[in-house]
């Protein structure tokens, strides 16, 4: 039981966590890689993405409603997950600076709660980032939520399910799911920007290459470290958060996880 906590204090692990956390939290990326700023998108596109986003959100809310009706305490757990994601994203921000890239945390969320719930939760995290940190915006919430709260988690969840079915290697599945959620999010963001601002010559494709190319520099290492971080957190959860995980009906008590160092 104590083994894993000790592990957290070993210098090597600390170094690793520190490194990945600094990378994920601290690395400033252009154009708020994850979040498009208030007023950045032309009004047509802002409305378009809101329209696309809304049904996804409504579906997610409905499924959450059902879940929490059966089990009201789940609300606390959901709020906890959301708040933790937010705090991680706020951590390294010195006082008022309104942005920088950060782990999306949506990969883990999608695995734990499913993509439907995550579409709501991720959106709420975005709302708080906009309201408390002025990071992202309200009019661009639709676009940002599509990439971070809907499409990213959906891919993460799909990846996790697929890998679990075919390989049964849980840690690998979690790593890939989290890393992929992060990557997909940035790909979608680039696409949204490219659609809104096609290049004069070469149009959307060239524009997409430009945005994606710039983001790739920071985002690929970021995605990898988010993968690692998520595996660590998962290990930790499976030791200390057993009751909560069981509450989520995710791990049956007999499944052996995370006990090995």
């Amino acid at each position: 039981m104590l083994g894993l906590k000790k592990l957290f204090f070993k210098p090597t692990v600390l170094f690793f966590v520190g490194a990945s956390a600094c990378l994920t939290v601290g690395a400033a990326t252009p154009a708020q890689a994850m979040h498009i700023m208030e007023g950045y998108l032309p009004v047509g596109w802002a409305i378009f993405w809101w329209l696309v986003f809304f049904p996804c959100f409504a579906l997610g809310l409905r499924s959450l409603h059902r879940l929490t009706k059966e089990n009201p305490d789940l609300k606390l757990l959901l709020a906890l997950a959301g708040a933790f994601t937010f705090v991680l994203s706020a951590l390294k921000m010195p006082s008022v600076t309104g942005s920088s890239s950060h782990p999306t945390g949506t990969g883990l969320g999608a695995i734990l709660f499913g993509p439907m719930a995550m579409s709501v939760l991720g959106t709420l995290v975005l709302v708080f980032q906009a309201l408390l940190l002025a990071h992202g915006g309200i009019t661009t919430l639709g676009a940002n939520a599509m990439s971070m709260a809907v499409i990213g988690p959906f891919f993460a969840w799909g990846t996790y399910q697929l890998l679990m079915q075919y390989s049964k290697k849980q840690k690998l599945a979690i790593f890939l799911a989290a890393a992929l959620a992060n990557l997909i999010t940035y790909v979608v963001t680039s696409l949204q920007l490219a659609l809104a601002f096609p290049a004069e010559n070469g149009g959307i494709l060239v524009s997409f290459l430009k945005f994606a190319g710039i983001f790739a520099v920071t985002q690929i290492p970021l995605a990898i470290s988010e993968g690692f971080l998520t595996v660590l957190v998962w290990n930790w959860l499976s030791v200390y958060g057993r009751t909560e995980l069981e509450q989520l009906n995710l791990i049956k008590p007999e499944v052996r996880i995370g006990a090995e160092n």
Binding site: K5, F8, L14, F15, V17, G18, A19, A21, C22, V25, A28, P30, A31, M37, E38, G39, Y40, L61, H65, T68, P72, D73, K75, L76, A79, L80, G82, A83, F84, V87, L88, A90, L91, K92, S95, V96, G98, S99, V120, L121, L124, V127, F128, L131, L132, A134, G137, T139, F197, A199, E200, N201, G202, V206, K210, F211, V233, W236, Y240, G241
Partner: protein, 262 residues
Amino acid sequence: MHIYIDTLAYTNRLRDLHPIQKLALAIAVLFIAFLSHPPTHIAILFWMAIWNVAYARIPAEIYLKMIVVTGVFLLISLPALVVNFTSAAVYPLQADSLAGVALGSWYFYISRTGISTALEITLRSLSAVSCLFFALFTVPFSEILQLLRKIGCPVLLTELLLLMYRFIFVFLQTATQLWIASESRNGNRFWKVAWSSLGMLVPQLFFNTFKRYRQLSLTFASRGFTGEFRVWHSRRYQFSLRYALEAFLGCFALLGLEFLIF
């Protein structure tokens, strides 16, 4: 780590002004910002600065810092809009090119339309952000929540928002406290060598967060959590004629400016 927006929202000078009045102004001007052109954007920037700094008494340095930070991020994003590339074979045909270099079979150039788009986006974004700031700085989160409840937002959503809000500050406090506690015992010396204190903070924060969550769930149970988070509040707000007048006249002036020029 201090969330200025939240604190200022509770302590600014327009605290007693009705949130609807403040939000209506922010939304109206945001709307104008979206539909207008650069000169109007500049006017909006100035006018909103007056509301924020002079009326709401947001410390000028904080306001400026936030605007500047936003501006810096906008600047970083501009190269992707301004620089364009195309195959070297067609580059002489580029009327759009202001200046450029050929690299191998590619031609990279600074695009004229790119520059004008970039300029437009920068100003639009900044003026939109200044409206957003006005709303954020003067309307506390709990009031936004009450408004959401009033306009029939699903209960589940407002509950989750409220719980998250409380958790966020509990965790931020946990993080700050951890940081201060280790600082007071001179803990950040070695951590600095081993990649800053964040390395220790993150796992500890995670751990403490979880502990707090467990305690809070007991608290919720003991205080009779019914599965729905409801609270009552006493705030009484005033509408201000003077501010309403200025808001109206200002918006008309902005629209007038827009129509005069374009």
